[in-house]
């Protein structure tokens, strides 16, 4: 019976066995396939994805067009501030809600455990969720850029591209936050934990409303504030603080929270 499979003959040296050698192209393909299906499943769950996908542009239209359109038409600075604020809101959602809650659900229901048992390439699930979040931010930014003229905001093509790229990359620190929440919260409690962080962060990061001076210490530790300033700087608008500091804070948050979440996942699965 054993003679039927010639691959078995070299099983004593598993590293040399043809069956286990995985060409780099196939390993890369596995990452791409994982990212494709991660994005596809999120697009097929409109009830879950629509709030963070549509909310930023809907709120932007509500505030910048319907409610305060006239005021904004006279004050271009306010128009830019409003546009940036809701763009940052858009960069936060997919990572915190899409990534975070999905991780909590998959962890609780055993899917991540199954994938750990299967020969999924290292981190493919994590990277797929990051790419999914970035794709969603790109969609959100496309809708925001398309809505900008209605909010009396004129952006050059270069500015549209740079603000989109900054926010797409800016999804990563929020993915890390979502990942950390997903690594410890149950499927049921994850949305509550995400909201507990998301809502105060919107108000206390000075992205939509100016903060009183006494509260600025919070903005300084918030990734949303730093992304907002970075996005403003990327289009050549006036911004606070040094670009290097913003990048450093955002990268630091991404690495630190991902590391914490990975450590937690290694312990609990």
């Amino acid at each position: 019976m054993n003679q039927m499979n010639p691959a078995l003959a070299v099983r004593e040296h598993p590293d040399l066995a043809p069956a286990t050698a995985m060409p780099l192209a196939r390993v890369l393909r596995a990452y791409v396939v994982e990212a494709k299906y991660e994005s596809l499943r999120m697009l097929r769950a409109p009830a879950f994805a629509a709030p963070f996908l549509l909310l930023p542009v809907c709120l932007y239209l509500l505030f910048a067009v319907l409610l305060f359109g006239d005021a904004i038409a006279k004050d271009p600075k306010a128009g830019l501030f409003t546009f940036m604020g809701f763009s940052i809101l858009g960069a936060m959602g997919p990572g915190m809600f899409g990534f975070g809650i999905t991780v909590a659900v998959e962890r609780e229901q055993g899917l991540l455990k199954l994938k750990r048992a299967l020969p999924m390439p290292a981190g493919a699930s994590l990277i797929a969720k990051m790419l999914m979040s970035m794709l969603f931010v790109a969609i959100i930014m496309a809708s925001m850029v398309a809505a900008a003229p209605l909010g009396h905001l004129k952006l050059s093509a270069g500015q549209m591209l740079s603000v989109t790229l900054v926010n797409v990359a800016g999804a990563l620190p929020f993915c890390a936050l979502g990942f950390l929440i997903g690594s410890f919260a149950s499927a049921k409690s994850a949305p509550a934990f995400v909201n507990l962080l998301y809502l105060p962060m919107i108000y206390l990061s000075a992205i939509l409303f100016p903060l009183p001076k006494s509260m600025y210490w919070f903005a300084a530790i918030s990734p949303a504030y730093h992304l907002d300033q970075l996005a403003l700087a990327s289009i050549g608008a006036a911004s606070d603080g040094a670009t290097a500091i913003h990048v450093l804070v955002l990268a630091g948050v991404t690495l630190a929270f991902t590391a914490l979440a990975l450590r937690r996942m290694a312990r609990v699965g």
């Binding site: 019976m1 054993n2 039927m4 499979n5 691959a7 078995l8 099983r11 004593e12 598993p14 590293d15 066995a17 043809p18 069956a19 286990t20 050698a21 995985m22 060409p23 196939r26 393909r29 596995a30 396939v33 994982e34 299906y37 596809l40 499943r41 999120m42 097929r44 769950a45 998959e106 229901q109 055993g110 899917l111 455990k113 199954l114 750990r116 048992a117 299967l118 020969p119 999924m120 390439p121 290292a122 699965g269």
Partner: protein, 303 residues
């Protein structure tokens, strides 16, 4: 580890808090065999599989997969797995689920081949979330085989399947073993082990209490026992033909025999004062229960 052993647990102990899930367990999976790991719920079967898959680490002892640590990706590229609880993404269609898992392997079958092999072709375009429990198990089975594994771990694969689907799984498993694949199957269905297994390992209370081929297990568990009070000694009876084992205690002699009728005839002839004669014929299920209970009450009873 020898050349014939694909996966091995040696002297493995695993505790969860104060509960000892595995207690010095030894288990090996040989090339080309279907090993059924039998045991009551909570016996430690799933924990044993988890250690072999690298999902948990033993407190002591070692787990090896293809001669390597199960934590590396290389040995896992040669195996497929079907776990008891795994909720796959409900939004993805069946073919997409299979395509995704196939992408993890160096030389998988096509999703269509995996669908055909497992009888799930009619489900290919259905979202996983809309399937029945049994259909989901069938799809999980397809995911386990799509990578053309050398070694397949199946944790209770036929729970929730209707008779037809179960037959399909059994037929596929026989075909895979025929092609040289090794399979580890945990089950608490004795008939499943009987229908499929080359070798059976019975686990109870985290310990391996019996192992052997199906016919050896059947001989072990379908044997007939004779109990009686007699003036004959254990040594005398042990030398008789057809007698397999003899033990004695305060209840008398306990004899296992391949042909109880011959032994009973000779007992009655040899001892006129023979009393309390009982012949106990255990069925497979009863004997299995008995085997697993003996670990908690060793050698206490013999009725």
């Amino acid at each position: 580890m020898n050349n014939h052993c694909l996966a091995e647990l040696s002297g493995v102990t695993k505790r969860f808090g104060s509960v000892v899930a595995l207690d010095q367990l030894d288990l090996e999976v040989r090339r080309g065999e279907l090993l059924a790991v039998l045991g009551p719920n909570g016996a430690g079967k799933t924990t044993a599989i988890s250690l072999l898959l690298g999902l948990q680490q033993p407190d002591s002892g070692s787990a090896r997969l293809f001669g390597q640590s199960p934590n590396g990706i290389e040995p896992r590229r040669q195996m497929g797995v079907m776990m008891q609880e795994a909720a796959l993404a409900p939004e993805l269609r069946v073919r997409e689920q299979i395509d995704m898992v196939a992408s993890y392997y160096p030389a998988p079958m096509t999703p269509d081949d995996a669908l055909a092999l497992t009888g799930t072709t009619p489900l290919a375009k259905r979202p996983y979330g809309k399937l029945s429990t049994g259909q989901k198990r069938q799809v999980q089975f397809a995911l386990a085989v799509v990578g053309r594994p050398q070694l397949l771990f199946l944790d209770e694969p036929t729970v929730g399947l209707d008779i037809q689907s179960r037959e399909m799984v059994w037929t596929t498993l026989r075909g895979l073993v025929g092609d040289g694949c090794s399979i580890v199957l945990t089950t608490h269905y004795l008939e499943e082990a009987e229908a499929l297994a080359d070798r059976v390992a019975v686990v109870a209370k985290g310990r391996l209490i019996a192992t052997g081929t199906v016919s050896e297990m059947r001989a072990l568990v379908v044997r007939k026992r004779i109990t009686c009070r007699t003036t004959l000694t254990a040594e005398q009876v042990a030398s008789w033909p057809d007698v397999q084992t003899v033990t004695s205690d305060q209840h008398g002699l306990h004899i296992t025999a391949s042909n109880t009728e011959n032994v009973v005839r000779r007992l009655l002839a040899a001892d006129d004062d023979l009393q309390d004669l009982e012949v106990d014929r255990a069925g497979l299920a009863e004997a299995f229960t008995e085997l697993t209970q003996e670990t908690t009450k060793p050698r206490e009873r013999t009725k």
